[in-house]
């Protein structure tokens, strides 16, 4: 019985910890919005804006990845 409760708690914890990826989604959307707006105003700076947008996306995605690491920690290690 306790084994089942521990397994259930693991899954619930992993699911709850992924709610943090919400912020990453919003952040990536806003940074792409800024980049697209800049590209629309000034098509010459496409390469420059693209590089910086990719860098910004990787930063925001890292926060979602931290949430994922906690979820994996709960599922596979502890």
């Amino acid at each position: 019985m306790t084994g089942d409760i521990v397994a259930a708690a693991k899954f619930i914890g992993a699911g709850l910890s992924m709610i943090g990826a919400l912020g990453a989604g919003v952040g990536i959307g806003m940074s792409v919005q800024g980049a697209l707006e800049g590209m629309a105003r000034n098509p010459d700076s496409y390469g420059n804006l693209l590089t910086n947008m990719i860098l910004g996306i990787a930063f925001s995605e890292a926060i979602a990845i931290y949430c994922l690491v906690i979820a994996f920690l709960m599922l596979f290690v502890l």
Partner: protein, 335 residues
């Protein structure tokens, strides 16, 4: 007879081949059919995923007095393969550059383009210190790029040794001595679990933490090399503490926060790379079990993209932090 002007004659050029849709779809169809036939015999099974890398030999390689035992893990073997590939590439670029042709081709051309692009990025950000910072940026980028790409070769994380395990799967024979795990739960004590021979190095926390430590420690070294011992006044800022009492104290607190953020950088570097790569492994395993026919190839494409991006981000962040370390507070003051 016509006198053809020697400048204007040219051999008849074939019209450039238009890219047609029809070429590759037959290969894709063939592979889909082969996959359907294959999975009807051997169905893929959710593998046993663990965060720690699996040792391949029972006895550890080296036992150091303080640090402990160092086993031969499957990520270490994969890293040695990547090292051999990188040395072979470097040697072939060296041979091509010795030939003396002005326009390199093939592997040399690719690496010249890569180095040129990275060096331009470094010069834009770092200025005078580009020559010192560029080797760290390029090495970290190329190493992480190749470990992430090599991880996608079929056979990684799937071919290995079968071990007895508690909650294992029953096995079935394929050819000769080659067995594979099948679906279902076996009787306890008789189940088997695969320990892969090779596993992507970036999925190992040892590798990512080591690389993050190298990056952050070398940032401090380059900062000291650029500014001398005055670099440490970024962290323990006693310069304005006695001239302007309250603002000086705020500067001191900001310095302590900078010190904490250096440690946070180590964590952030290592967990970003580890998280992306490990989640890729888990995603491929889950999707291959659920829909084995065409969808894993889309996931592999996503993994390829993420691998390249993460290598670029790791290197780029290292370069940006090193460039920031060479500029003191004087360079950042707003007028």
């Amino acid at each position: 007879m016509e006198q053809t002007n020697p400048i204007e004659t040219s051999p008849v050029e074939k019209p450039p081949r238009r890219w047609r849709w029809g070429i590759n779809r037959w290969w894709i169809l063939l592979f889909i059919v082969l996959t359907i036939i294959g999975t009807s015999f051997i169905a893929p099974v959710m593998p046993h995923i663990q965060v720690a890398p699996e040792p391949l030999l029972e006895k550890p390689l080296v036992t150091l007095p303080v640090i402990g035992a160092i086993p031969l893990t499957n990520t270490l073997v994969a890293m040695l393969i990547v090292d051999v590939i990188l040395i072979a590439l470097a040697y072939s670029v060296y041979r091509n550059s010795k030939k003396g042709s002005l326009v390199p081709s093939g592997i040399s051309g690719f690496f010249e383009m890569l180095v040129d692009m990275l060096y331009n990025l470094t010069e834009n950000t770092a200025g005078r210190w580009a020559k010192k910072i560029f080797p760290w940026f390029a090495t970290i980028l190329i190493l992480v790029l190749f470990t992430n790409l090599v991880k996608l070769i079929p056979g990684f994380e799937s071919i290995g040794i079968l071990h007895h395990a508690e909650e294992g799967h029953p096995i079935q024979q394929v050819i000769g001595n080659v067995y594979t795990v099948t679906d279902g739960t076996a009787a306890p004590g008789e189940g088997y679990v695969v320990t892969p021979f090779l596993r992507g190095t970036s999925t190992d926390l040892n590798f990512t933490v080591a690389l993050a430590l190298i990056s952050v420690i070398m940032t401090q070294v380059i900062g000291v090399r650029a500014q001398g011992p005055r670099y440490f006044s970024k962290f323990l800022n006693f310069t304005t503490m006695f001239k302007k009492p309250f603002l000086g104290f705020m500067d001191f607190i900001v310095g302590i926060l900078e010190l904490i953020s250096e440690f946070a950088k180590i964590l952030s570097f290592s967990f970003r790379l580890f998280g992306v790569m490990f989640s890729g492994v888990v995603l491929v395993a889950i999707v291959s079990q659920m829909v084995p026919v065409f969808v894993p190839s889309l996931i592999y494409f996503f993994e390829l993209f993420m691998g390249v991006i993460q290598a670029f981000v790791f290197g780029m962040l290292t370069m940006v932090f090193m460039a920031q370390a060479t500029q003191g507070h004087g360079g950042e003051e707003h007028q």
